[in-house]
Symmetry: C2
Subunit: 340 residues, 2 copies
Amino acid sequence: MTNIKDIALHCGVAISTVSRVLNDHPDVSQDTREKVLRAVKELHYIPNTSARNLVRTSSDTIALLVKGVNNPFFARLIKVIGREIAQRGYSLELHHMDTSEDELRIGAQLTNERKLIGILFLGGRFNYSPEEMALIHVPSVFCTYTNTFGNLNPSAYSSVAIDDKQAAQDAVDALVALGHRKIAILTDNKDDRSISELRFQGYKDALAMHGIPFEPNLVACTGTFSDMRAIYEATSRLIERDSSFTAIFAIADLMAIAAIKALSDHGKRVPEDCSVVAIDGLELSSYTLPTLTTLVQPAEEMGLLCAKTIIELIEHPGQNRQYTFETVLRPGGSVCRLNG
Amino acid sequence: MTNIKDIALHCGVAISTVSRVLNDHPDVSQDTREKVLRAVKELHYIPNTSARNLVRTSSDTIALLVKGVNNPFFARLIKVIGREIAQRGYSLELHHMDTSEDELRIGAQLTNERKLIGILFLGGRFNYSPEEMALIHVPSVFCTYTNTFGNLNPSAYSSVAIDDKQAAQDAVDALVALGHRKIAILTDNKDDRSISELRFQGYKDALAMHGIPFEPNLVACTGTFSDMRAIYEATSRLIERDSSFTAIFAIADLMAIAAIKALSDHGKRVPEDCSVVAIDGLELSSYTLPTLTTLVQPAEEMGLLCAKTIIELIEHPGQNRQYTFETVLRPGGSVCRLNG
DNA sequence: TTGAAAGCGCTAACAT
DNA sequence: ATGTTAGCGCTTTCAA
C-alpha cells in the first residue's frame, strides 16, 4: 500500500506538505499542489482512514446507526436524512448492526473510533437507563422511537417519534366509526417493551373507551414484523380459532398485506367480510389490491426533523427535546362500513 | 475517553499486559487478567478500532459492500451470508454506500483501513475494467452480478449470479406457452449496461425466437426499480398508448405489483385481461392478490455460495470462478392462458 | 509472566 | 510556503 510518505518521497517534499494538499489547506503553492496530486493519481494512493481518525480530534461526521436491516420504513427516512445532512455541510456515515447488538455500545465505540460529532439512532430500544446513556458523549437523536419504557430525564435525550399508542387508538377508532366492534389485532408481541406493546396497549385502550370488551381470542401474535409466512399463519390460526371478528387492526403494513391474503384464502373478502387497518403508510400499500387503509408515519417530515435536530444539538449543545408526530389516516380500499 | 494506558496505570501493569488480556493471549497470570478485566469494566473502557487497525497487518474480517439501500432482494442474501461467514469463524462487516459512489474505490479504502481479508460486492456495476479491478488486492466476489459488460479476464474475478438474459427469456417463454403474443415489457431502462439492459435483451431475443415482431410501443421504461408511483405511471402511459397487449413481463417483482394496480385502475383484470410475469421471487409476491408468477432467484443458495466462495478464495487464493444460477418459475395467480 | 520500546499512517503544532 | 517533529491508541517484537 502506498502511503503519504511514498508520495512525499516521490515528489521530494515533506509529508506535511502532502497532508496539506490532501486536506485542501490553502497555504500550498500551486506547483506543489499539482505535483502532489499527480503523484497521488500515479501511485494510486488511497488514504488510510484509521490513521487519520486516530490523530484527528474531531470530524464533521454524523453517524446514522441503523439496527435491523429489514425495515422498509427506514429507507425513506435514511434518504431524507442523508440529503439534509449533506446540504448542511456535514458528512453522514451509515452504519448497520444486528438486532442482537447494543446500539449504545456500538455508538460509543464508533464515536471514539471515527471521532463522530453526533449520532442518529434508528431502530433502538425504548428503555435506556441513565447509566447506559452515559456511554454516549456526543449529541444524539432517537429516530422514530422514544424513551417510553426507560427512565431517562427529558433533558438527557432527544427523540423524533410518533405516538404509537395514539396511532393504534386512531386505527381502532376508525374501525369503530365504521360500525365495527369485533376487532381483532395482529401484533408482533404483547409485551416487548417496545412498539408492539405500545400499539397493543393503544388497541386495548381504544376498545375500553368504546365500551367494547377485550377478547384475548382476537389477539394474534406473529413474533415478527417481516416474515410474511409467519404472519400469514398467525392470521390463519386466528381465523380458524374465532372468525367472529369483522375487522383486523394490524400494527404494521406488511402484516396487513399477509393478513389480507390469509383472509382471502379462508374465503373472507376484504373489505366486504373483513375490514383491515394498519400503521405505517408504506408506498407499497397504495399499490396493493385492495389498497391499504393505514395510519401514515410522515417519514419525510420526521427524517428532516431528525437531521435538523442533530445539527441543532451539535451547534448548540444542551437543548435536548422530544418531538412527537401525528400519524395521518390514508384511506384505502381495505375498509368499509359494517354490513354496508 | 479512557484508553489502554489508563487501564495499565490503574492496574499498575504495563500497557502490553493490558493488550495481552484484551486479546486473549495465554501468557498472562490469572490474577493480572482478572485485575485488568475488572478495570476495563469499572473505567468503561472501549477499544479504539482505528488504533488497532492501524497497527495490525491482518484481520479476520470479510466486508460485505452493499451499493444502494432499497433492494428488498438483498436482505435475504445478507442474512444467509452473515450466518455462513460467522459459522466459518470469520467476521463480517456490513458497509453500505450510495449508488453514486465507486464500489471498487471504497473497497480498496476499506481494505487498507480495516485490514480486510476479503470483500463481497453486492449491487455493483457489470462493467469493470482490469485497471479498476487492480485496485482490489484481496479476494473478492461479485454477488448477484457479473462482468457481462466489462473486459475482465475470467481468471481475474469471481461472481455468483443468475443469467439475467436467460431469466427474461424464460419469463417470455412462459407467457408464449400460455398463448400470448402481444407481450409488453416493463423495464427500468433499455441500455444501462446492467440488469435492465440484459433482461430487455432477453425479452427481445425470446420474441425473435418465437417469431414475434418486436414493438417499441410495448416497451415501458420506468427509470426506477423502486419508486412505485413512477412505475405505476409508466404502466398507465403504456396502457393509454397501446392496450393491445395481453401480457406484461416486468423485470422486477415490485414493478409487477405497481403494474397490476395500474392495470386494475384501467379496468383490466389480472390475469383475465392481462397476464403478468416478473423476475425476483420476493417473499412478498406470494402474499399479494393475485399472487405473482415470478422467476425466483434462489437467494439462500446464492448467498451461501457467495460466502463459501470468498472463504475458499481466502484460504486458497487464485481459484477465481464464475457461478451462474438458474431461476425457477414460481407459479402464481397473475397469469392465465390467453382467452382461457 | 511481564515490561520497554518501536512504529502503524497520519495531522497539527511549531519552526523556518 | 514548506519542513520537522510529537504524538493519536494500539500490537508486537525483544529483553528481562
